[in-house]
Symmetry: C2
Subunit: 223 residues, 2 copies
Amino acid sequence: MSAANDAADRLLYDYWRSSAAFRVRIALRLKGLDYEPHAVHLLRDGGQQHADAYRVINPQGLIPALKIDGALLTQSLAIIEYLDEAYPQPPLLPGNAMQRAAIRSLSLQIACDIHPLNNLRVLNRLKAQFGAAETQRTAWMQHWMQLGFAALEPRLSAMSDGRRHCVGDQITMADVVLVPQVFNARRFDLPMDAYPTICRLSDAAMQLDAFQRAAPQQQPDAE
Amino acid sequence: MSAANDAADRLLYDYWRSSAAFRVRIALRLKGLDYEPHAVHLLRDGGQQHADAYRVINPQGLIPALKIDGALLTQSLAIIEYLDEAYPQPPLLPGNAMQRAAIRSLSLQIACDIHPLNNLRVLNRLKAQFGAAETQRTAWMQHWMQLGFAALEPRLSAMSDGRRHCVGDQITMADVVLVPQVFNARRFDLPMDAYPTICRLSDAAMQLDAFQRAAPQQQPDAE
């Protein structure tokens, strides 16, 4: 068994519906890296991510965390960048510095400006501080997804330029981050008619084996 | 005049109090890159970032954006990574892949999990959707900063290990992202007694010329 395929060396603290974890699962599969999933249930027991057993692993109490190459990595984009540096093929940040900047900017447009506002802990805080009912919490999520997708759609339309993936014919980190956000949008019934490019690119990526294997419903802890 | 110092080639769409813009100003100064600031007032005229004149530049309507080397870059961390690749000295992501992952993870812990929740547009949404008064909006901000800093403090204490900066004796992207967040915390009167390492590291970085020149009150649009 080659080092690059020794699953026992890699442990992913995971939750099937976490879109940050979904990103890392896709990246691991694209790199052909097997891993052992360790489910941390974000709802059960008041949230297993808050339990001491997990706080020892990631004091931030967030999913995902990846044990790899003798260290524990946190923050999904930092993990993906690490995988891309340590396991360069296939590259998820191809091209020159300017092209890499565009890929990172697209990724951060989702990872900073959409996803963190819709996290479970944010919805819980809206409920606790403002008494937000479920419909209000869903409206909050949809607001940020709409705003984010409306800015993303023309940008992706220009960058993909009719080609198969976000910035051309090859998968990059931008596709890895886009797909879980689209999954989340559909889960919360966001009308997607205004975002044909986003849908096209997400659907194209989802045809690949790495994306399918990483999908929430394919995980051992899926409900 | 050398290419690396030709301010007219670089245009930063900026706002003195934006902490994402503050990050980019620090990075430009650390790299010794002059630039022309173009102030986009986030409050005046209902927010100049929403005006058509700026939407043409950055359809996301967010600050900062940097015109450099013939292109327009958005998302502060993508801009910093670009500067580090195109202008390698001094390196803001030094070390091997694992060390770079740690620097990125620290940066993202702030850039994804603290800052986006406290953005002006989020506070405006809390007011619009939940009628949140100013004291409630401040409580919201303080909640996320407290939670973020509480997770960051032990991590930075371990990583800096008594040395001058976040991950050792040299400034990295982690310091570049930390300082504006601490500035923001102090601006909103967050009690900082529980975060001695965060304060120490932020104060140490602020002694450097690049950080001082990038500080909000030093900008031409400061009020």
